[in-house]
Symmetry: C2
Subunit: 429 residues, 2 copies
């Protein structure tokens, strides 16, 4: 793991727009699903997944059968995680408000859940029960009545779908599950088919085809942000345990070769100790090849003159995950401007947040923590403004509204006010 | 204005992706701005705007000079509108929270303003001072320290920019103004140039090139939604004044031929009276050609069996603006699921909200009120999760976190917990 000055390092990667062929393929798939509906979904399942899908929808019996296939310790841990995730997201609830003015007018904001949300769950090894909880529970807590999961029809598990995924979906409150993956699943969620009614928003990670399809249908439906490779930044001083820091860096590096694990420290002693620990711990990891390449290509130990300079470097990087393992971690909290999730102290290892603590593990990547947030209840709610203007208020403000409208050359706007002022027998405002 | 049953009408339009040529042009412009910076901006100003731009940044003196060019009644009305808009958006403020658990852990959510926001303001007749207020004030109230406006260098006004726009920007709290428009302005905001530091988010309306450029840089920076043609739906019964209803429909129709103005009513009497009033009022409107075409192509009077059925039609249409002019308008409020802004009663004409009442006039169009909200403070703030896990909590939950990580095949995640449990001398959880 290389040790370099912080000033020489940047985490930002170019956006992924996909190749022309990939974009064309996605466009064609979406058009075919719009045209042929379920028939297109079955055709693509045979073509891409090598599976002949009889029933698109997973039945209640299949979900019940899945419970018999997962072991009790997994189910218990999953349920406790779900309780904690629900409890954290409950605190994000917002209420509508209406404000009565002295002139009799009422202004307000109504907050409502979306009606129907689609959750994409990748197939194979990238099918994580924890991600099902993290995406579905906030929608559930927000009050979304219809939460729809789609996932590729694979060739193992309960009729093709990993039973752990089915159990996680049931525990999280998913109301419908369909055997469909890839860009065709996104098209089905956006436009609807005979079997799958259209949704208002699509969330969940996926491969490049899924990401391009989400980008394409954005506007027809809402989408969550397109997730980039995962990142961790650890800001630590010489009070940190090098073994803990190295283990946390490696937990990020094992995700994939593009994942990025970075230590920022003013301590040369810690830098070298972590460097040695990473090498030592790496040797026995099952995913050591992936992790080693991630560390080599996208990992770094950045040296800084002080923790304050380290905080500046953190804000530049705007990491998805930030751990602060210093003598007094809370003292830097108010200075962290850009980070998806902030883990404080030696016991707040990133996997605590990935699985269990309660805050969401769907976090802004690739520097987007500058302007994006962890997945949260707001992502599953929408607002409407309320304007009830009183006669008194209109008579008072009418002429000013007319002046502004006329200045903008919008005479019909002015007349909509004028006709009322005339009828109410008072055009002096 | 045609009268048709509600069941036969749909408002939804296809998404606008632009032609291949437009997309290629935008891509090339963005690449040139990334490569050549300010020089590219000056080159495009000559090429597209026919203007040789000496200073990109508008000076303090130019802004002061603008004040001398706007009349007092405009300035007074603008200032009152600004006060009301500020006051409404103040109510959307949110606070950070941290929650101390019984086990000593702390979980929380920090809410912070974005650091730097860019506001695009179109040139020519589409330069609306009211839009400057509506886009900039929420950013200001959110606490964004740097609000940057860009607008095309035109050939009139104070050195090319309408003085009313400059005054509105100054009143709204815009901190920097640059003479640059089109896709090149979006590129400058997203990537930065020598004169214009990059922003975190871009808001504001623009033409197809601006919209395509925003779509292209989404991910490098955040963007607001791409606005479609404007829409109004009026839900009214026979207590409504046909003249008021017609005037409100026309105020929307004058925006452009693609704008959509729709009346939904169970009253045949009102339907016919509004039809007659629209024809009558249309005849004397300055923008009667635009309004007439809008009414003909995208306007309709939809008849329904009851107001309840009218509410269903509203929810299907998910209009940008909804007026409810019925005997008891508030009685339907809880049933309106999809609408950007809801105007209640006979005095709440849409222009009241466009200019003055306080709620934002930047609203979701083209059915996106199903999942989008009026521009609001959340659009200018971001959240970070906070996780401080105590030793006690980690010892209690460690084994469950390990179980979940191992199930997902993420052994390095499990080991990051395991190394702590071992060191703390307790691996029983």
């Amino acid at each position: 793991m290389k040790i370099v000055p912080a000033s020489e390092f940047s985490l930002r990667r170019e956006l992924e727009y996909g190749s022309e062929e990939q974009n064309e393929a996605v466009k064609r798939i979406i058009e075919e699903v719009r045209r042929d509906g379920d028939a297109a979904l079955r055709r693509f399942a045979e073509q891409f997944d090598g599976v002949s899908v009889a029933e698109l929808r997973v039945s209640k019996e299949e979900i019940e059968a899945a419970y018999a296939l997962v072991d009790e310790s997994f189910l218990q841990a999953l349920r406790e995680a779900a309780v904690r995730i629900r409890s954290f997201h409950e605190k994000q609830k917002r209420t509508s408000w209406m404000d009565l003015q002295a002139d009799g007018s009422i202004l307000g904001q109504i907050v409502r859940p979306l009606r129907r949300v689609g959750l994409y769950v990748p197939g194979g090894k990238a099918a994580y029960p924890s991600s099902v909880l993290m995406n579905a529970i906030p929608a559930m807590v927000a009050g979304v009545p219809e939460i729809v999961m789609v996932t590729p029809p694979a060739t193992a598990g309960v009729d093709g779908i990993d039973p752990h995924i089915l159990v996680a979906a049931a525990e999280a409150g998913v109301s419908e599950i369909y055997r469909v993956g890839g860009a065709q699943a996104i098209a089905a969620l956006a436009y609807g088919t005979e079997s799958i009614p259209a949704v208002d928003k699509i969330v969940g990670p996926g491969n490049i085809y899924v990401a391009l399809a989400k980008r394409y249908v954005f506007g027809i439906v809402d989408i969550d942000s397109i997730a980039g490779p995962s990142e961790i930044v650890v800001l630590a001083d010489d009070t940190a345990d090098a073994g803990y820091v190295a283990a946390d860096l490696l937990s990020q590096a094992e995700h994939d070769e593009m994942a990025s694990a970075i230590l920022i420290t003013p301590s040369q002693v810690l830098a070298e100790a972590v460097q040695a620990e990473v090498a030592r711990q790496l040797a026995t990891l099952p995913k050591r090849e992936i992790a080693a390449q991630s560390i080599r290509d996208n990992g770094a130990i950045l040296t800084v003159a002080s923790l304050e300079e380290g905080v500046d470097a953190v804000n530049q990087l705007a990491p998805e995950h930030l751990e602060i393992i210093t003598a007094e971690p809370f003292q830097y909290l108010s200075k962290i401007e850009n980070a998806g999730a902030i883990f404080l102290g030696p016991y707040s290892s990133e996997p605590v947040g990935d699985y269990f603590a309660g805050p969401n593990h769907v976090l802004p990547t690739n520097g987007t923590a500058r302007f994006s947030s962890p997945l949260n209840l707001d992502d599953f709610m929408k607002k409407s403004s309320v304007i009830y203007y009183s006669r008194e208020a209109l008579l008072r403000d009418g002429q000013k509204i007319i002046a502004l409208a006329q200045h903008e050359g919008l005479e019909a706007h002015a007349r909509a006010i004028q006709i009322r002022l005339e009828k109410e027998g008072n055009s002096n405002g």
